[in-house]
């Protein structure tokens, strides 16, 4: 096993480079998922998952972990709200159209 030479006094030890976090962008996408399209929520969820894994592996700046988690949670909630809304819309449409059909078939 090779060992790194000790750094000279006063010189900081070499640290592996980590990527900057994208917490702000993920949180903005998570919030946009509420006021725009579900696609933003899905992007926030996917990016949040990926970046949290990168942070856990030490390849990404961990200072944005809170923002990234918040963005991911917003994304999950946005996806759930949109899917539930569409399912309810579809069921309501089927219910009302069936009621109208039944009313006209009785006449």
């Amino acid at each position: 096993m090779t060992q790194l030479p000790p750094s000279a006094p006063g010189v900081p030890a070499a640290t592996p480079t980590v990527k900057p976090h994208r917490g702000v962008m993920i949180l903005v996408f998570g919030i946009l998922g509420f006021v725009c399209c579900i696609i933003f929520s899905i992007v926030a969820w996917v990016m949040g998952n990926k970046d949290l894994a990168e942070m856990a592996a030490g390849r990404m700046d961990r200072s944005g972990e809170g923002l990234t988690k918040a963005g991911k949670i917003c994304g999950i909630v946005g996806v759930a709200l949109n899917i539930v809304f569409l399912v309810v819309t579809l069921l309501m449409w089927l219910f009302f159209s069936a009621a109208i059909f039944a009313k006209f078939s009785q006449m």
Binding site: R22, C36, C37, I39, N82, I83, L86
Partner: protein, 136 residues
């Protein structure tokens, strides 16, 4: 800022659950649209418009997709200029990736990333104003 034309796998590694969620959403929107058009009973597919009465910044994309399917790109662009342009750019990037096995990568510093995000939000606001005034 650094622009790279780097070698990548031909197919993007999107998580299967995300593909499934997008598929489920598209199927639900298509189902509501087809049923409402076939019967003449209007049904709203946008949660924001249903709750607030105002169109959301991505309003018009269903109509834009239908116009694009009828090979009317200018009409599609008129429904939502920002998101139709972004969709076309993403489609072109995906096509390049599948054909050449390479992708354009834009490496931004944190500060540049924030500037890009602010520019996107400004464009989004302008697009929303356009949609509210002309599309509805």
């Amino acid at each position: 800022m650094r622009l790279e034309w780097s070698k990548v796998s031909r197919w993007p590694a999107a998580p299967w659950w995300a593909v499934g969620v997008v598929g489920l959403w598209l199927a639900l929107v298509a189902g509501v649209e087809i049923l409402s058009r076939a019967s003449g009973l209007a049904a709203e597919t946008c949660l924001v418009k249903r709750l607030t009465g105002y169109p959301c910044p991505t309003c018009g994309l269903t109509r834009a997709a239908l116009a694009a399917a009828r090979l009317e790109p200018l009409r599609a662009l008129g429904y939502n200029p920002l998101f139709v342009s972004l969709g076309a750019a993403l489609g072109a990037a995906l096509l390049l990736r599948v054909v050449f096995g390479r992708a354009v990568r834009l490496n931004l510093s944190r500060r540049e990333g924030h500037v890009a995000l602010a520019a996107f939000l400004a464009l989004l606001a302008a697009d929303w104003a356009y949609v509210m005034c002309f599309v509805g």
